[in-house]
């Protein structure tokens, strides 16, 4: 009953951030989402920050992304926000447009000279910078080459392949493995897929003025593509995917029941280590067969500073360190994407292992081309994401047609964004 409100009442109680430092010693509260491995690497970097900035100590907290989002909301609501925090693309403006985040451009401590304009624009609204990319990444196709080799299926050239090629490839894998392995197991419900498809067709999924720019037709085609692929056998039957979230080790690629997935490519190393056999990383289909390039260098996540932080200067120093310090970056490597400061990215490249190098190289190759600009996710983007997830299931089980689902998607998304 009133449990929801009780929750909010005790939300901020857990952490002891704030004014513990009197005068010389300042304690920053720094929160992010991720696993223990990411936390370990981050802590190592923070010890370097503390050594370089005597008088500042950093206390971290981390969770999985879903509980993290809940806790963040309650902490802000309770007036006890962390000083520096990791923010998801789709949540940034939900916070920023409620006045809870500081303008990062207002801090002289934070040097943004080396950061490309295209990266800054992903955290910017009305000339104010509310989130700075922790690094950049994009999505790509991972294929278990051991399976396709055994089945005798050739992997198409990813520089020129179309969405039809991918479908043909996937269907062939399913056929030649006797239905033991499905050729494609990409996630229909995550917005990064239709975002790229829209861009390839000359549409901006989210426009410069923070609206929904994708057409109903594109969404319908996105749904229809999975329906057709399932019918042809290249995609698993309805109800096959039941793992929520999950690490590379829990993925269907690692289980060997699908031969390909679409993933955020900064996770490539995780997948190659989790999968028995050789995994290759490919560009998404349709990059050269569409109207224009769909790719963009997307923030893996964003750093923000709370408007109510009691130590904004020190917080800005920390964000500057996370962005511009090569020594610190050498501890974190490409955990949160390719560093946005090119000098830092170059400095850590020799330290990368082969898989991370593959990721960084592909990222660099993609950015050599002229990519259309991309913009910050609007307020309401999390409702858009939820709507897509829900409609994907409806389509999957044949409860609504792709056309009707697309219509509903447009209505609900527009309502959420224009509210």
């Amino acid at each position: 009953m009133a449990a929801g409100l009780l929750l909010s009442a005790c939300g901020g109680g857990a952490s002891s951030s704030g004014n513990s430092g009197s005068g010389s010693n300042v304690e920053l509260n720094f929160v992010f989402w991720g696993d223990a491995n990411r936390a370990k690497m981050t802590e190592a970097a923070l010890r370097i920050f503390e050594k370089k900035n005597p008088g500042i100590t950093v206390k971290t907290e981390y969770q999985d992304s879903a509980p993290y989002a809940d806790k963040l909301a309650t902490r802000f609501a309770g007036g006890n926000p962390p000083d520096v925090l990791a923010m998801a693309n789709r949540s940034l403006l939900e916070y920023a447009q409620r006045g809870t985040l500081a303008d990062l451009k207002s801090f002289p401590e934070l040097n943004l000279d080396k950061v490309p304009e295209t990266t800054l624009s992903r955290g910017e609204v009305d000339g104010k910078l509310y989130g700075l990319a922790t690094g950049v990444t994009t999505i790509g196709v991972v294929i278990n080459k051991t399976i396709t080799d055994q089945a005798g299926v050739t992997i198409p050239d990813d520089k020129t392949w179309s969405w039809e090629d991918y479908a043909k490839f996937a269907t062939e894998v399913t056929q030649k493995t006797g239905g033991k392995v499905y050729g494609a197991g990409y996630d229909v419900a995550t917005e990064t897929g239709p975002i790229i498809l829209a861009r390839q067709r000359g549409e901006d999924f989210y426009t410069k003025d923070n609206k929904l720019g994708v057409s109903e037709k594109t969404i319908e085609d996105w749904f229809q593509y999975s329906v057709d692929l399932r019918k042809a056998g290249g995609y698993p039957p309805a109800g096959f995917f039941e793992q929520i979230g999950g690490s590379p080790a829990q993925s269907y690629l690692a289980k060997g029941t699908v031969a390909s997935q679409i993933i955020p490519i900064n996770n490539f190393r995780g997948y190659n280590e989790a999968v028995e056999g050789e995994v290759v990383l490919l560009r998404v289909p349709g990059e050269t067969t569409g109207e224009r390039r769909g790719y963009s260098a997307d923030p893996t996540m964003l750093w923000s500073i709370a408007a109510k932080s009691k130590h904004p200067k020190e917080a800005a120093k920390l964000v500057d360190f996370l962005t511009n310090d090569a020594e610190g970056a050498a501890e974190v490597l490409t955990q949160r994407g390719v560093p946005i400061n090119p000098e830092v990215a170059d400095a850590i490249t020799p330290k990368l292992n082969a898989d991370d190098k593959t990721f960084v190289d592909l990222m660099a190759a993609i950015q050599e081309d002229d990519l259309p600009p991309a913009y910050v996710y609007p307020k309401g983007a999390s409702v858009v994401a939820d709507t897509l997830k829900q409609l994907t299931t409806e389509v999957e089980f044949g409860r609504v047609s792709p056309a009707d689902a697309a219509k509903t998607f447009m209505e609900k998304s527009n309502a959420a964004i224009n509210k």
């Binding site: 009953m1 009133a2 449990a3 929801g4 409100l5 009780l6 929750l7 909010s8 009442a9 879903a66 989002a69 809940d70 909301a73 309650t74 802000f76 609501a77 939900e94 916070y95 409620r98 006045g99 809870t100 309805a238 109800g239 096959f240 995917f241 039941e242 929520i244 979230g245 999390s382 409702v383 939820d386 997830k389 829900q390 299931t393 409806e394 089980f397 409860r399």
Partner: protein, 315 residues
């Protein structure tokens, strides 16, 4: 039957048996220690009463967690009528309640009747059957349920032995809610224990008299057991109903917080939580909490009125 060994009339009260009458401690001191013992309750109440009234106020505002709430009158309540997901969440919650509560009460009563026949090692059986109701609402068990009913889970494995291809219990919107209903029925332990206590209160002489008159077991059950434990059935019904309307954990864990697949497990409280904590519409969420209170109050009231016709108080 311990219940039947009543004290003979006129026997001295146990306290008076200790010889000289003592001086009674002052009423005041007694009261003070009484309040002292109640202190945790008062403190607990504080944490209930304050959010209680806060949410009543917030229900009439546009509170979004971050900025000062503005009074919006009945707008939140009006918006509810046009909210398809709210309607869906009510549908899910009602189906869940009206299917799982009767079944779980029936199962609880049945098991209680069996256990009441005086088994060897009753306390062990009682604990075994009670255990699920302690665990059923926990995250770990719901996770376990996901695996049991998963595509490669025990249930489909069992069906597979007979050549039946089981459906996707968890991910198919047609079946996901029934999986949770089964989970809820499985936690029949707490009403069962209460039924068992109730059954032990039924005087054995009634059955003796009835069997001398030639009444069948079924007749005895209908005419003696049911009327005499009807207050217990009523109590269990109300408790299960209230608990079931407030279901949250099962839906949250099973669907990873989304209420999916396709909103088929979007319980009312789960939707309330989504509104409050992921869409930040705390005013609307508060209004929803009050609507739920009203719904529960109405159903409880209906039951109280209806109880006059079937609940029998033996005193």
């Amino acid at each position: 039957m311990t219940v039947l060994t009543k004290q003979p009339p006129g026997a001295p009260a146990p306290a008076a048996a200790g010889g000289k009458p003592r001086i009674r401690p002052s009423r005041r001191r007694k009261q003070r220690s009484g309040y002292l013992f109640l202190l945790p309750w008062f403190l607990g109440m504080l944490f209930t009463v304050i959010p209680f009234f806060a949410s009543l106020y917030l229900a009439f505002t546009d509170y979004n967690l971050f900025t000062e709430p503005n009074f919006v009158g009945l707008a939140n309540f009006q918006a509810m009528f046009e909210d398809p997901r709210l309607i869906q969440s009510l549908k899910v919650t009602f189906i869940y309640t009206f299917v799982s509560v009767p079944i779980s009460l029936a199962v609880a009563l049945l098991v209680a009747l069996v256990l009441n026949r005086g088994l060897q090692g009753l306390s062990i059986y009682r604990s075994v059957y009670y255990l699920p109701s302690l665990l059923g609402g926990s995250v770990a068990i719901v996770m376990l349920w996901r695996y049991i009913f998963g595509n490669d889970g025990i249930v489909n494995g069992f069906l597979g032995m007979f050549g039946i291809q089981g459906p996707a219990w968890v991910t198919d919107p047609q079946f996901s809610l029934s999986t949770l209903i089964v989970l809820n029925v499985w936690t029949f332990g707490s009403p069962m224990v209460i039924f068992l206590a109730g059954l032990r209160q039924v005087p054995g002489m009634y059955y003796e008299a009835a069997s001398i008159d030639g009444a069948s077991k079924w007749r005895q059950f209908r005419s003696i057991t049911l009327p005499l434990i009807s207050p217990i059935i009523f109590f269990n019904l109300i408790m299960q109903l209230i608990g079931s309307f407030q279901t949250f954990t099962q839906g949250y864990v099973m669907s990873g917080g989304t209420g999916g697949p396709a909103d088929s497990t979007l319980f009312y409280n789960l939707y309330l939580y989504q509104k409050g904590f992921t869409e930040f519409e705390m005013g609307y969420a508060s209004a929803m909490a009050w609507l739920l209170l009203m719904i529960i109050a109405i159903f409880t009231a209906i039951n109280f009125i209806a109880s006059k016709f079937w609940v029998f108080y033996d005193n």
